[in-house]
């Protein structure tokens, strides 16, 4: 059955028990993304901090998402993968994830980079679902861009957008 290739058990686990769900403060930037073909949406917040070398690091990702199992699980897994990473490393992960899910099933995912998110390789074979998998990830990319653009360093005021 092809379904089990897409809906791997780990995806269903994240869907039933999403990690990091809910909107929290403080945060540095927020992004609202919508999938216009189905109406699914996500509001995602990013909080950054600086590590000992001054490098920006992802302190927290919090989100409210309305959507299918694929979009919910992908957003949940995003938080597992990038919270604690430097922003630069997280962008590397985002790039690898996009490359995999947009690869029509022809991209061999790198488990060292993507960890459990390699489970979404099956989604790549269903072009109509790629946007679902990317919804939260695009929100993250957008929120980080906004946070990094902010003139001051990591703000703790929780003002967001």
């Amino acid at each position: 059955m092809r379904l089990s290739q897409m809906y791997q058990e780990i995806i269903l686990d994240h869907y039933r028990n999403p990690h990091g769900a809910g909107l929290r403060e403080p945060f540095d930037a927020e992004s609202f993304q919508i999938n216009p073909t189905c109406g699914d949406e996500v509001t995602l917040r990013v909080a950054l901090k600086r590590d000992s070398t001054g490098e920006p690091v992802v302190a927290d990702i919090s989100y409210y998402a309305l959507g299918c199992s694929i979009s919910q699980a992908a957003t949940s897994m995003l938080t597992d993968l990038v919270v604690g990473c430097t922003v630069a490393d997280s962008m590397h992960i985002v790039g690898a994830f996009k490359h995999m899910v947009q690869g029509r099933g022809a991209v061999e995912p790198d488990e060292d980079v993507l960890g459990d998110a390699v489970a979404f390789a099956g989604v790549a074979k269903y072009p109509a679902r790629v946007k679902c998998a990317l919804l939260g990830w695009m929100a993250y990319q957008d929120a980080v861009a906004r946070a990094v653009e902010a003139p001051a360093g990591p703000s703790q005021n929780g003002a967001g957008r």
């Binding site: 379904l3 073909t37 189905c38 699914d40 949406e41 199992s69 694929i70 269903y126 679902r129 679902c132």
Partner: protein, 422 residues
């Protein structure tokens, strides 16, 4: 059972015999988005292109004559199919363009670019209102939002009851109303709206009426003149015909008075460097070389539907709809969005499966070869009205079977099992 021999009819549709997703027989329940085409339509297009193709309404050679005859014969057959006269049928690229044509024509009348008579009759300004409904497809909503934005007019709408009917008691039609635009049959709820009642209310205040007939013309007998609407649109690809062609119906005297939308070749009467005058309708609204094999194909689709009989089509689809409503109602956790009784109801069956997102239901169905639509079906405000982001929608056509309804219901149960909510 209806007198229709569906198995024999299905043999006319090559696509319906293919398999999908690891050799599953295709169960195509997405005809509300686009229908499949019988060989008779494909053959008509091919025969036209192989024997008669030329630019219509130009040229005096034999092919040009034959192509023009084929094009105008198609117009006459399509017009007759909906109770219209040939000069009341304008070919557009799709129904969306037909609605935009009317919206832009009214907009052009509003900016004073035409004669005083047309301006007085069709112009919109800040005191005017356009009335739509909350159940409209985006195609019959966004063009009116835009027209209001351009002219300063105000958009108002009928709400929808929780049963999926128009709330006729809360009537936004007033002496300010210039146009009432609504769907004949909702593409989500299946609701068939009371056209004559709405026409009467519009007439009482002197407003024009535009009917979105995309989901009614392919599925039941429709006589636009008898319904009394001023304008109507429908699309070829939803009625066993080609894509790239839609129809705008307009009452002859209205089309004759309206300013053009798209301008250019073949829609003119006289052109000088200082300005131009325009051809009578329908040519006034068909600028450029039109789609021709598509018109021929759509006329072949009309012939095909006529050979079955639209009453037979409607009866067959009524049985499918009834079966879907009854059998889905038997599945715990399934909620129909739209009327559950068959009164004033067509064959769009949208539903929610508790605990499983519509996308995920659709994926399980797809895995079993069942093609449905998932999402908001271009009716986002309507989904918002029902407090949901997305529904699963099954839509039927004359070639569907009761066995396919069973495949749908079995697939819904399988989705519940797969996601552990069954």
């Amino acid at each position: 059972m209806s007198p229709l021999d569906v198995a024999k009819l299905r043999a006319d549709f090559p696509l319906l015999s293919r398999t999908v997703r690891d050799n599953r027989p295709l169960v195509y329940l997405d005809s509300g988005a686009t229908s499949q085409r019988p060989r008779q339509v494909l053959d008509a297009e091919r025969a036209f292109l192989e024997q008669h193709n030329a630019a219509v309404h130009r040229g005096a050679h034999q092919l040009a004559e034959e192509a023009t005859d084929a094009y105008e014969s198609a117009r006459a057959r399509i017009a007759a199919f909906v109770g219209a006269r040939p000069n009341e049928v304008v070919f557009t690229k799709n129904a969306t363009e037909g609605i935009n044509l009317v919206a832009y024509s009214l907009g052009n009348a509003s900016i004073g670019a035409v004669d005083a008579y047309a301006a007085a009759r069709f112009a919109l300004g800040p005191d005017d209102e356009i009335v739509v409904t909350e159940m409209e497809h985006h195609a019959n909503l966004v063009p009116w939002q835009e027209l209001c934005r351009r002219t300063g007019a105000t958009l108002r709408w009928f709400g929808v009851t929780s049963a999926g009917r128009l709330d006729l008691d809360d009537d936004p039609i007033s002496e300010h109303t210039k146009l009432v635009a609504f769907s004949h049959q909702s593409n989500v709820l299946g609701t068939v709206n009371p056209v004559k009642e709405l026409v009467a209310r519009a007439r009482a205040v002197g407003a024009l009426v535009l009917l979105d007939a995309c989901q009614s013309v392919p599925h039941s007998p429709v006589d636009l003149a008898e319904l009394g609407v001023d304008f109507a649109v429908f699309s070829g690809h939803k009625m066993l015909g080609p894509s790239g062609i839609g129809v705008l119906y307009g009452r002859a005297e209205l089309l004759a008075a309206m300013p053009p939308f798209l301008t250019g070749g073949s829609m003119i009467e006289l052109v000088r460097m200082e300005g131009s005058t325009y051809a009578p309708p329908p040519q006034r609204f068909e600028a450029g070389v039109p789609m021709t094999s598509q018109a021929v194909g759509l006329a072949a689709a009309v012939d095909y539907l006529n050979s079955i009989g639209m009453a037979t089509v409607a009866e067959h689809e009524r049985e499918l709809t009834e079966a879907a409503l009854v059998r889905l109602a038997d599945v715990p956790g399934v909620r129909i969005v739209g009327p559950t009784e068959l009164v004033s109801r067509g064959g769009a069956v949208s539903f929610l499966v508790e605990g499983v997102h519509a996308h995920d239901v659709g994926q399980v169905l797809d895995d079993r070869g069942v093609a449905v639509r998932v999402g908001h079906h271009c009716a986002w405000p309507l989904h918002r009205r029902f407090g949901v982001a997305a529904t699963v929608r099954a839509t039927f056509a004359v070639y569907n079977t009761l066995h396919e309804v069973d495949a749908l219901v079995d697939g819904v149960r399988a989705a519940q099992t797969f996601f552990g909510v069954g």
